[in-house]
């Protein structure tokens, strides 16, 4: 049936700074494209209906639920995943380091989505209150930590990113 629509498409998506070219079926979600086509399995699927936030990635710097996007929609755009947060020399992003210090992760399944959400949030709001942090992550469900340690980690990371005080 050719009504001009396509069932798959060649796309070029810049992921964590590198251009990735692939043929993507149109119904393939961005999350499955990242996980299966590009083997970047750090982005996780917790619900596939846009509630849990585990699949959150940055698209052109904005936090979005990758389970609610089609891979073909990312053609020509920049995507940042958890795998792209550490520095090129491998040193952890201040958020990643703070999460580890504060026990902000237990099973680690929701963590990548939380980190990408917080990376964007701290750019928009570099000196947040605990209440603002909670609101920012209210679209990310964690079933392990109870969130306190995540909030504490974010406050420390925000300080580090602002350059106030040294990180241990």
């Amino acid at each position: 049936m050719s009504d001009g629509g396509c069932a798959s498409r060649s796309i070029a998506v810049t992921v964590n700074g590198s251009v990735c070219r692939a043929e993507a079926p149109v119904r393939l979600t961005l999350s499955d494209f990242l996980r299966q086509t590009l083997h970047l399995t750090g982005t996780h699927l917790g619900c596939e209906h846009g509630v849990c936030g585990a699949c959150t990635v940055l698209v052109d710097g904005r936090a979005m639920r990758s389970c609610l996007m089609l891979a073909v929609q990312a053609d020509g755009h920049q995507v940042t995943t958890i795998e792209g947060l550490a520095a090129p020399d491998g040193s952890l992003h201040p958020l990643q380091a703070a999460f580890c210090r504060h026990h902000g992760l237990q099973c680690g399944f929701c963590t990548p989505g939380l980190l990408t959400t917080l990376v964007e949030f701290l750019k928009d709001c570099p000196d947040p209150t605990a209440a603002e942090i909670r609101e920012a992550i209210s679209g990310n469900i964690c079933r392990c930590t109870g969130y306190d340690s995540i909030v504490a980690a974010t406050i420390e990371a925000a300080r580090a990113l602002r350059g106030d005080g040294t990180t241990p």
Binding site: M1, D3, G4, G5, C6, A7, R9, V26, R27, T29, D32, E48, H49, G50, G53, T56, R62, A63, M64, R65, C67, L68, M69, L70, V72, Q73, T117, E120, F121, E135, A136, S138, G139, N140
Partner: protein
């Protein structure tokens, strides 16, 4: 939960999109995807075609034309909330958007998508009704304007023909010194509203209510302007008793029932929220007018 098979189209212009709508059967428009993609993933809808609007730049943007704010259908909810014109002239919308989902939702979700989905509890739908918005609809025969009251035909049913699409929403701006409030009852932060209330009012120099718009969302199939309450308030001297009586008109609303929330609950909470919203809007109006409260 993977989507079913479909053919994909991504037009670059409104004309192209309209032409596709006219030509294709069983097609769905994809805007922000925050409502359609979950339905696709769960296979609640089985379209043969998806028409992706995200590449049509002409569909996004906020412009002031006279005393109206024209917001393109594909404008992201986050961009609306941060737009200087919206922040200075439409704080009601900013307050309402604070309740719409979460960051990730608003980064991608659009005003057009929300209006066309027409969920009874959608905050933007209630705001549009409260402001007497006009919807710009484009079809093969050209563009037409439809008042919001006529746009919301019924439960999740906008008055758009299968070969038409929403291009923009025009929001008449309230007077510069107005009071507003958006309140909702939701189980958790960012959840769908069980009941939502939008209020905009202005005061005359004597401090009486000059204009008043009260909209109840989530209680009925479409947003409900509380006309009886508005009439009661217009020209009246505002006080808690008056707000209480105006709010009590919610008792007559024919409210939605579902497995978890009975109609009486919606009516009762609507009354509570209307009363609170009126108090807040009045307080803000007084402050905006520099009056002693």
């Amino acid at each position: 939960m993977k989507p079913p098979a479909f053919l994909y189209h991504d037009p670059r212009s409104i004309d192209e999109a309209v032409a596709l709508l006219a030509r294709l059967d069983n097609a769905r428009l994809l805007a922000g995807g925050q409502s359609l993609m979950p339905m696709l993933n769960m296979r609640y809808v089985l379209p043969d075609h998806i028409i992706d609007l995200n590449r049509i730049e002409a569909l996004a943007g906020v412009r002031q034309i006279g005393e109206t704010l024209r917001i393109g259908a594909m404008t992201r909810q986050r961009d609306i909330a941060e737009h200087p014109l919206v922040r200075s002239r439409l704080p009601l919308m900013v307050e309402a958007l604070g309740h719409v989902g979460h960051r990730q939702t608003r980064n991608r979700g659009t005003i057009g998508g929300s209006l066309c989905h027409l969920d009874p509890a959608a905050e933007l739908v209630a705001v549009a009704a409260n402001l007497d918005a006009t919807i710009e609809i484009v079809g093969p025969k050209g563009a037409r304007l439809l008042p919001m009251a006529e746009f919301a035909l019924g439960f999740m049913t906008p008055a758009i023909a299968p070969d038409e699409m929403v291009a923009a929403v025009n929001l008449p701006l309230p007077a510069a010194r107005h009071g507003y409030a958006f309140l909702e009852m939701a189980r958790r932060h960012g959840d769908f509203a069980i009941v939502a209330v939008a209020v905009v009012l202005t005061l005359d120099p004597a401090g009486r209510i000059a204009t008043c718009a009260i909209t109840l969302g989530g209680a009925a199939a479409v947003p409900r302007r509380m006309a009886e309450a508005e009439t009661m308030l217009r020209g009246a001297a505002p006080d808690a008793l008056l707000f209480g009586r105006a709010a009590a008109t919610a008792r007559a609303v024919d409210a939605l029932e579902d497995a978890q929330v009975p109609g009486w609950y919606r009516r009762q909470v609507a009354e509570t929220l209307i009363e609170r919203a009126l108090a807040t809007a009045h307080r803000r109006a007084v402050a905006a007018n520099g009056m002693a409260s």
